[in-house]
Symmetry: C2
Subunit: 338 residues, 2 copies
DNA sequence: CTGTTAGCGCATTCAC
DNA sequence: GTGAATGCGCTAACAG
């Protein structure tokens, strides 16, 4: 039974309205009474009841984040940024982890009603137009991360540019036989989440090839469910092609790790026999000396919260698009071909 | 402006109490009126306002979890179990990530006041007696995970037994020169979190050695801050000893990975030249064919929530200790010494 | 069985 | 400047 505003008021010899005023720095309170109230609060170790505040305020004072695969390093890192930033604010954070598309749909429907959260961050899960319509009229501010929709705020990177950047790096090293290893680009059966990043990176890859006058070879594009294990299998497949590639661009660092292992198992030296470049620059990439395209994951989380808080304070502001910079990080897994 | 209980009551032609009754399945409601109310709820797409419920209930209907290093695989996996289990319940989950001991102390002080959460799960962070006293009189139910205190509920494993198990496995293979690679056992400067698992695993290691009549060699115990990188350095140190070990027991799979890499860099074959065993069985361990001691991380999260919910329903129940089983998983990184 | 009423703890009009 | 009164949406006695 913690102290309530009534206890403070009584102890300070004032009305509850005055206590509320010093709590919210609202209106003017004579500094002598303010001090009396503050002394009473300290004496009683008073902390306003957040639930009552929400009730009276008509706001939930909480932010929700809907994310798939909570466990993948790239998602965890973004979440870490979000958590850190929200912890600094007056808001609570609730994480909704999505492991099936049913769960996603359920959350897309039930979370943004205004009763659970004031603001919502959605990571990597593209909403349909119908979803967006509901979001918009629900009055909860929404920020998309790593996915885009013109009617919603979004923190994104230019995946196509990143794919192009990675491929150009390999081309500049002299590679002509460049493979792209990714998760399925457009198969809703395998990937019901409609992730878009691998597709855009693929488009960048294709564009870079074209600009360099290198014809695309379909056998150089291999895709399977996102995992280190699957990536390893795909890499084996690539490396045992009659005319194998001299470089592999993996759509994520996790998949690049699988490719690295496949190379080792085939007794191929990296980068002497085969170059490998990843995408994301997750923590372990440094450690593996993996050349990769760095995207600022932690900062993405920070910026998402920042933008969301801004929207919460300025309702009705136009949806913003923030594109975070990409950076080629050259380490030790890429080199000119033999 | 979602529908409230009043709208439903009016539409169904009943009082709000009746609506509340069908909502909570309390008392008896004539089935005909119940149906009228339910129809009205559906027609209005009514969902009770969680904040108002909390207010009236005098409960927060939320569970908090305080965890360090949100990003390490073992923590993430436990969190995944916790999230999945909480999502099934009527409770919300708030994650408090701790990256400094100051943050830990702040959360230990501010979270369990009964105003923010009804129940609290604390992962790997041993509370002091003073902390425990505060927890106890705060009336929020608490469950410790991967750390212990006799006055609190706890889900743990027997780390000493695990350490012994790992070491015995190596001894049975014929090893006599067995190193232990871990994070600092007792240095609050390096590790202000007072993690206990590495210490207990060390004790199990020592015990197994003693039982086998193998003298402990202090140079065979190397410790540094928990990371793959540091572990690699430590492993290099061990392997370049005048009389190097033939087997390394790493206190975690992450550290075992560092040891694996060190071995490769020193052109040592695993397990022919050096055996390596880890601890935890995180996802990547399968993939690396790492022999390890498996602890049920995901299930730990499930059980923690289960126990917490039980305590929430049965306040005043005596603190329970649940010890989850460990299992030696023999894969391909351990073998008899040459 | 069902409707009325009194809080839950706080913010916020209004008067004073 | 400050206090008393009203309401946020719901639950839980209390009458009927």
């Amino acid at each position: 039974m913690p102290a309530t505003i009534y206890h403070v008021a009584k102890k300070a010899g004032v009305g509850i309205a005055t206590v509320s005023r010093v709590l919210n720095n609202s209106a003017n309170v004579r500094s002598s009474t303010r001090e009396r109230v503050e002394a009473a609060m300290r004496a009683l170790d008073y902390h306003p009841n957040p639930i009552a505040q929400r009730m009276a305020f008509g706001k939930t004072l909480t932010i929700g984040v809907i994310t798939p695969f909570f466990t993948r390093p790239a998602f965890v890192e973004r979440l870490r940024g979000i958590e850190a930033s929200v912890a600094e604010s007056e808001y609570d954070l609730i994480v909704y982890n999505v492991e099936t598309s049913e769960k996603r749909d359920a959350y897309f429907r039930s979370v943004p009603t205004g009763q659970r959260v004031d603001g919502l961050i959605i990571i990597s899960l593209p909403p349909t137009n119908a979803d967006v319509e509901r979001f918009l009229k629900s009055k909860v501010s929404t920020v998309l991360v790593d996915t885009s929709h013109s009617a919603l705020n979004r923190i994104i990177i230019d995946d196509a540019a990143g794919g192009r950047m990675a491929t150009q790096h390999l081309i500049q090293l002299g590679h002509r036989k460049i493979a792209y290893l990714s998760d399925p680009l457009n198969d809703p059966l395998v990937s019901p989440f409609r992730f878009t990043s691998s597709l855009y990176r693929y488009q960048g890859y294709r564009q870079a090839l074209e600009e360099a006058g290198i014809p695309f070879r379909s056998e150089y594009h291999q895709a399977a469910e996102h995992s280190r294990y699957q990536a390893r299998l795909l890499a084996h497949k690539l490396l045992s092609l009659p005319d194998p590639p001299t470089a592999i661009f993996a759509a994520s660092d996790t998949q690049a790790m699988g490719a690295l292992e496949a190379a080792h198992e085939d007794s191929l030296k990296v980068p002497e026999d085969i170059s490998i470049i990843g995408f994301d620059d997750i923590e372990i990439a440094t450690y593996l000396h993996l050349t990769t395209i760095r995207q600022p994951l932690y900062e993405t989380g920070l910026r998402a919260v920042e933008l969301l808080l801004f929207c919460l304070e300025h309702p009705g502001s136009r949806p913003q698009e923030i594109v975070l910079p990409l950076e080629l990080v050259v380490r030790e897994t890429t080199a000119p071909p033999k």
